[in-house]
């Protein structure tokens, strides 16, 4: 655990952090608002004291109430990995700026997040489905997407009207989402 990094991050970003820097094992975690996401990533990448130049991973998360985009960065100056969480994306129309301006390698990871969650990355030149077929309408990793085994519990409700395959006649209860607002 790199205590120096926590102090440095607090000093650099100050009130831009939504929560204090969290550290556990060899990971540090910060949360920034959607509006500050691009600036934060740029600072993390360019600042000579931070130099988080490697994007290890980019993924989407659906908490059941909101969407999040999570970046894992690695630096040549710190032993810790940094997790940047951008919470608060609207579940009905999640949008965020693309990270491809800095890491062109994020292109496919953003395509994957779009394919699985429907998150629109503005500025990604090639944002289309990557695993699922082009005419597929749902976003499988969303929490309201049920596996075939669970379909009996689902009133077949997708997120958008286009995805609605038709509500079965015997559907009574509303979809019960597994929500985790705490994480």
């Amino acid at each position: 655990m790199d205590r120096r990094l926590a102090a440095l991050l607090t000093e650099k970003f100050g009130e831009r952090l939504l929560t204090p820097v969290r550290q556990r094992y060899d990971e540090s975690e910060i949360r920034v608002a959607l509006a500050n996401a691009t600036d934060t990533l740029r600072t993390l990448h360019d600042d000579p004291a931070l130099r988080f130049e490697m994007l290890i991973d980019l993924c989407g998360v659906d908490t059941g109430e909101e969407m999040q985009v999570v970046y894992h960065l690695s630096s040549s100056t710190s032993g810790d990995w940094l997790r940047v969480i951008v919470p608060g994306l609207d579940r009905t129309a999640p949008r965020i700026a693309s990270a491809t301006f800095m890491w062109p390698g994020a292109e496919w990871m953003e395509r994957e997040a779009y394919d699985m969650f429907g998150i629109i990355f503005e500025g990604n030149r090639d944002l289309r489905r990557i695993y699922m077929p082009d005419d597929y309408r749902s976003f499988p990793l969303r929490k309201d997407f049920y596996l075939a085994d669970d379909a009996s519990r689902s009133p077949a409700a997708g997120v958008r009207n286009m995805e609605r395959a038709g509500t079965p006649a015997d559907a009574t209860a509303a979809t019960v989402l597994r929500k985790s607002p705490g994480v």
Binding site: E27, I56, H72, W103, R125, P133, L147, R178, V183
Partner: protein, 403 residues
């Protein structure tokens, strides 16, 4: 009975519309990049490679835009092996999730297990017994050697040499049989558990390992002599698909592909896990960044792996191989990222717990997925046949790419 002759495609008088190279209606471009790709200029045409092509190392389709024999652009089409592992893991408990990750990279499946196990152990604050840590290092390094020797054979096969893959499989079979004696499985081991490993080392494994170690170095050297100085092999790979360090970092490349570009980044040393800090090994790098360098870095890594195995066997302590844990695991809510340095790069698992016995979200990061993006940029302007050489040197495995 008269049969109407169909016009021959070789007949110069027959005008073939540009979109006739599609056997289905040409796709409607959805993005800027796809529109650019689908626009054919004078003299260009599309060639379809795959999905079932021996050089794609799995089920991958690549649409190649060619001008004569030169590749202008290409567009990989993924998803043929997509099983939705992440979704399945969200609906399984923590133990079940581990065996779902096994078939991701079927040539190095221990690494695919090691990443989620590392993440879960962080979530649950489990201390792995030292003997189990040593066993993990031992089996992972064996698996790395198996994967790299297979890479060597594949790469030579993609360049037209049949013999090396037969030799490679001799070595790989030895290791796979050895691991089968230990784990009960030849390919998908499902050996690591949260808090340790499933079963201590047994006599058959140790005797096979001892026999193999006594001749491994010599055997691998003779395998290398088979193609390292082969003129055709070297001339077809040297200077091909050059990836410089800056681009590699921007593209998120990790593992041997990054080290072949001169960046000495290895998780085993730079972000140590298990007992790697106590072991002595070098991180081989090359500066050229071409296909040959990517090949040679992997071959150097085999030697380092043998060195690590040798130390592990000398220093392995006695003791339990499993931590004491309850049957039903309910970690506190939290997030953890577990990562290991695999034969292809960083295997990562990002697990979120919401306090139940199932992961709330389990993200699997596979290095092959990132590396496959590079095939396009690296092959532009080369010959079609060199696409396979570049792709083989990046060593993607489609099971991991498609998840």
């Amino acid at each position: 009975m008269t049969q109407q002759m169909r016009p021959s495609l070789d007949d110069p008088r027959v005008a073939i519309p540009a979109d006739s190279t599609w056997y289905e209606p040409a796709p409607i471009p959805q993005t800027e990049r796809q529109a650019e790709f689908l626009t054919l200029r004078e003299g260009e045409m599309f060639v379809n490679m795959g999905p079932q092509h021996p050089s794609t190392h799995g089920v991958l389709r690549v649409i190649i835009k060619v001008n004569g024999e030169k590749v202008v652009d290409l567009d990989p089409v993924l998803g043929y092996l997509h099983r939705g592992v992440e979704k399945l893991c969200e609906n399984a408990d923590y133990h079940q999730a581990i065996c779902y990750t096994d078939p991701l990279e079927y040539v190095a499946s221990l690494f695919c297990e090691a990443a989620p196990v590392a993440a879960f152990e962080k979530l649950m604050d489990v201390d792995v017994p030292r003997r189990a840590q040593y066993i993990r290092v031992l089996t992972m390094e064996l698996n790395r050697i198996a994967s790299h020797t297979l890479f060597q054979g594949w790469m030579a096969l993609d360049l037209g040499g049949i013999t090396p893959i037969l030799w490679a499989f001799i070595e790989r079979d030895e290791i796979v049989d050895m691991l089968a004696a230990l784990t009960g499985q030849k390919l998908l081991y499902n050996y690591y558990r949260i808090g340790g490993v499933n079963g201590d080392l047994n006599h058959e494994f140790m005797s096979r390992l001892g026999t193999w170690m006594s001749r491994a170095a010599a055997q691998i050297d003779s395998n290398l002599a088979l193609i390292n100085e082969n003129e055709i092999f070297v001339r077809r790979t040297r200077g091909l698909g050059v990836l410089d360090a800056k681009t590699a970092l921007k593209m998120g490349v990790t593992g041997p592909n990054l080290r072949a570009s001169g960046v000495p980044y290895d998780l085993r040393r730079d972000r140590p896990y298990l007992v790697y800090p106590e072991l002595e090994f070098d991180v081989p790098t090359r500066d050229e960044g071409d296909s040959l360098a990517r090949y040679l870095v992997r071959m150097d890594e085999i030697k380092q792996s043998i060195r690590i195995i040798d130390q592990v066997l000398h220093e392995m302590p006695d003791g339990p191989v499993m931590a004491k844990l309850p049957r039903l695991l309910r970690p506190r809510p939290g997030r953890a990222f577990g990562a290991v340095e695999g034969p292809r790069g960083v295997y990562g698992t990002y697990a979120i717990s919401d306090g139940t016995d199932q992961p709330f979200r389990m993200r699997i990061h596979d290095p092959s997925f990132v590396h496959l993006q590079l095939v396009g940029p690296l092959t532009k302007g080369n010959l079609i046949a060199d696409t396979m050489a570049v792709m083989a040197s990046l060593d993607p495995v489609m099971g991991g790419v498609d998840k």
